[in-house]
């Protein structure tokens, strides 16, 4: 039986409580991993490992956090991500919501793409594909 979105969110919440040491009620779908929940770069690997265990899925870190696009200076111009970069990132991250970012694609706003909902979306896509 396919897990409901609420069931996936509940498990993701458990993963983030353990990985980030935050309180359960801080983990809303809109919460950003870095800004709101205080995740540091090394926590992303921890989150990957914990998601794999919680959902019995194989998580490709590059798929969830496509570093090669995120950190590519070719896609940066005047502090903003270029249209090509945004386009590539959108293709690589169908699990993220780009509506706000596209309005003002400042590089420092990239981190806001990584919300709790982004992870839930990713897991749902993985579970559907399994």
């Amino acid at each position: 039986m396919t897990a409901t979105r609420e069931e996936v969110l509940a498990k993701v919440r458990g993963v983030l409580v353990e990985a980030l040491g935050v309180d359960d009620d801080e983990i809303t779908p809109e919460a950003t991993l870095e800004g709101d929940l205080g995740a540091e770069s090394i926590d992303f690997l921890d989150i990957v490992f914990r998601l794999e265990k919680a959902f019995a899925i194989k998580v490709n870190k590059v798929e969830l956090f496509p570093d090669e696009i995120l950190n590519n200076p070719d896609y940066v111009e005047d502090g903003k991500m270029t249209a090509e970069g945004v386009s590539k990132l959108k293709a690589a991250m169908p699990h993220a919501d780009f509506r706000e970012f596209e309005k003002d694609p400042q590089i420092e706003r990239i981190r806001d793409l990584f919300t709790v909902a982004t992870i839930v979306n990713y897991v749902e896509l993985k579970l559907k594909a399994a």
Binding site: E18, I42, D43, L45, F49, E52, K53, K61
Partner: protein, 163 residues
């Protein structure tokens, strides 16, 4: 010089689990001040011993071809002190292992008694990819690999040598 916080491995199952022992002695200088008249092995050094046990287990799983860096203490809980005269065993097992890193679970015992649990995460670091790091393997020098020499098959024609 490496600061080694395990004395020897007593069990080593490649890619799966390992057990190392640490004898706590009053001769260790750090115990003279931690604390005066009440020597207690600092939990941070027990964590380091578990990390060395687990890190060597993780490194050996990839034939010591990758630098294995302690990236995160996922959890560490202590239920008793370790004092001079204690022999601690660090029992670790690999939970997950892939190209990015590994997670391990560890139990610290004094005899049969469990006194701590230490779960860790390691990152695989490639000096050829990560700027600012040495290109050679800077983690697994002979000091570490010698500890598991007796558990590893000798390379063909080497007579049992180590890197």
């Amino acid at each position: 010089m490496r600061w080694i916080w395990i004395d020897k491995f007593t069990q080593f199952e490649s890619g799966r689990r390992a057990v190392a022992v640490k004898n706590v002695t009053r001769a260790e200088e750090h115990l003279h001040d931690h604390f005066p008249a009440w020597p207690v092995m600092p939990p941070s050094l027990i964590i380091e011993g578990v990390a060395q046990t687990a890190g060597i287990l993780v490194g050996e799983a990839r034939a010591f071809g990758m630098n294995v860096i302690l990236a995160k203490i996922r959890s560490a809980t202590f239920t008793d002190y370790a004092v001079p005269g204690d022999t601690l065993s660090y029992e670790v097992e690999i939970e997950t292992l892939d190209d990015h890193g590994a997670t391990t679970r560890g139990v610290v015992r004094r005899g049969q008694e469990e006194i701590a649990r230490v779960d860790l995460m390691f990152s695989h670091v490639d000096g050829a990819v990560h700027a600012g790091l040495p290109r050679h393997n800077f983690v697994f020098t002979g000091t570490f690999t010698d500890l598991v020499r007796s558990f590893r098959p000798a390379p063909p024609g080497s007579g049992g040598g180590d890197s």
